[in-house]
């Protein structure tokens, strides 16, 4: 029975529709930002990376947060569907966060003059990628679904709890040695292509995660289903 309180856009739209709409919007928003948005005062044309980098960042971190929520929900409810969603969110979150780190590195080169900087945000993101990739690797070596779910949930909660400590320790360390850079205030001319891309990536990922969670559930159920009973072909064959 449907829970009337759970009528969210992502819950009710078909995954394929979300993927198609999100993908189309992402292409449109990217072209808008690349070709039609004005140049920025200090960063010139290089700032256009912003229209794909920021939506990737927002959604990547949102997905890893969603994985944390799924981990907590699994521990509370014990329903394996939460584990399916955890894996789906974590996988997508790791992909986006890894992409984000590389995007940031390429953007850093013309703006900061270096490929890498020990900025707390960059460092925290890189650490997150390793942490959650490690949990995904751990999952591969655990075959029993409930054991895998429980271990993943515990590891995810511990990794997520570590995030503020990583951020704070790097920020504290960073403040003693480097000047913090801060992003320019976003003016109205830049906001719309940014919003379009942010929503586009959100819809795209919502659709992909739904599909991925369903795939994981199917594979899990197929793996735990009893083998089919075959009728022996020859009479009197011993079982």
């Amino acid at each position: 029975m449907d829970d009337p309180g759970l009528v969210l856009l992502g819950e009710r739209m078909k995954p394929r529709t979300l993927v198609n709409v999100g993908g189309t919007l992402l292409i449109a928003g990217s072209f808008w930002g690349l070709l039609f948005a004005p140049a920025e005062v200090f960063m010139g044309e290089v700032y256009r990376i912003f229209y794909i980098h920021v939506p990737t960042a927002w959604n990547g971190l949102l997905l890893l947060t969603a994985a944390f929520v799924c981990a907590v929900m699994y521990l509370l409810k014990g329903d394996l569907l939460w584990d399916d969603r955890l894996e789906a969110s974590m996988e997508a979150g790791v992909v986006l966060s890894a992409l984000l780190t590389i995007q940031g590195s390429i953007w850093a080169r013309p703006t900061w003059g270096v490929w890498w900087n020990w900025d707390p945000r960059l460092t925290t993101t890189a650490i997150l990628v390793f942490a959650f990739a490690g949990i995904l690797a751990l999952r591969q070596s655990l075959k029993e679904p409930r054991r895998r779910a429980m271990v993943s949930a515990v590891a995810t909660i511990v990794a997520a709890a570590d995030v503020p400590l990583v951020y704070f320790s790097v920020r504290f360390w960073n403040s003693l040695h480097q000047i913090q850079s801060s992003p320019a205030t976003v003016s109205a001319a830049f906001v719309w292509p940014l919003r379009v891309n942010a929503i586009a990536v959100l819809l795209l990922m919502a659709g992909l995660i739904q599909m991925r969670a369903e795939t994981i559930a199917r594979l899990r159920e197929a793996g735990s289903a009893p083998p089919p009973i075959d009728v022996p072909e020859t009479e009197g064959a011993a079982r």
Binding site: F130, S141, F172
Partner: protein, 219 residues
């Protein structure tokens, strides 16, 4: 309390038998420090700064060897399951193992200290060094014990443990290296207290959170 004491004695006995774990951790730590001492300028300032980082990296990487087999005895004989079925609290099991692991890692750190002093020449005072060593290994023991329990069933545990521990210990690594440098070269701006506070917060968070999650992580 009696049961907890019995668990501690059990773990101390296992630790005493696991001399191989101490040797592996010590050997790896010493090798890392040796390589670090050879890979840069031989000036006292440079050596001193490299020494702090090399000591802690050696200890952390050595600790994964030390920790990765800490559940081996219970795993092999089904001892952990038997103890829990007999009524031992999984939480008590965790804290006993984590305390003994903390003690073991502290001993590994003590064994590495003269090597560090010989290779790098400078270091913190005895009291300050012991305090940082205690805080650092305390911070490492709880998450290390939890993750060791988690990966202990996997045949890839020797790879998985360092991979999973690395992101977790980054704040500890940054903090203990900075604290060690301040204790070695002086702390004119009084930043040491803040670094020690981060270490304490990390240790407290993990000793509480990991203890609460341990019972969920085991059968």
């Amino acid at each position: 309390m009696i049961a907890f004491r019995a668990l501690i004695l059990k773990d101390l006995r296992i630790l005493a038998r696991r001399r191989g774990g101490f040797l592996s951790a010590f050997a790896l730590g010493a090798i890392i420090m040796l390589m670090s001492s050879l890979s840069g300028e031989a000036t006292p300032q440079s050596l001193g700064q490299r020494g702090a980082a090399a000591f802690w990296m050696g200890l952390f990487l050595g600790s994964t060897l030390f920790l990765s087999d800490s559940f081996e005895t219970e795993q092999k004989e089904g001892g952990q399951r038997a103890l829990i079925l007999l009524g031992a609290s999984p939480t008590a099991f965790f804290y006993s193992k984590a305390l003994v692991n903390f003690f073991g890692l502290f001993v590994v750190g003590l064994l590495l200290t003269p090597i560090s002093a010989a290779l790098f020449g400078v270091g913190p005072s005895l009291g300050g060094g012991a305090l940082i060593l205690a805080l650092g290994t305390l911070s490492l023991a709880a998450p290390g014990t939890l993750f060791t329990a988690i990966v202990s069933e996997s045949d890839k545990r020797h790879l998985l443990l360092p991979v999973m521990m690395f992101p977790l210990v980054v704040p500890v690594l940054i903090t203990v290296v900075q604290s060690t440098l301040l204790l070695t070269f002086g702390d004119p701006m009084g930043q040491g207290v803040a670094w020690h506070a981060i270490l304490l917060i990390f240790a407290m968070l993990h000793w509480l959170l990991d203890g609460a999650l341990y019972s969920k992580a085991v059968d």
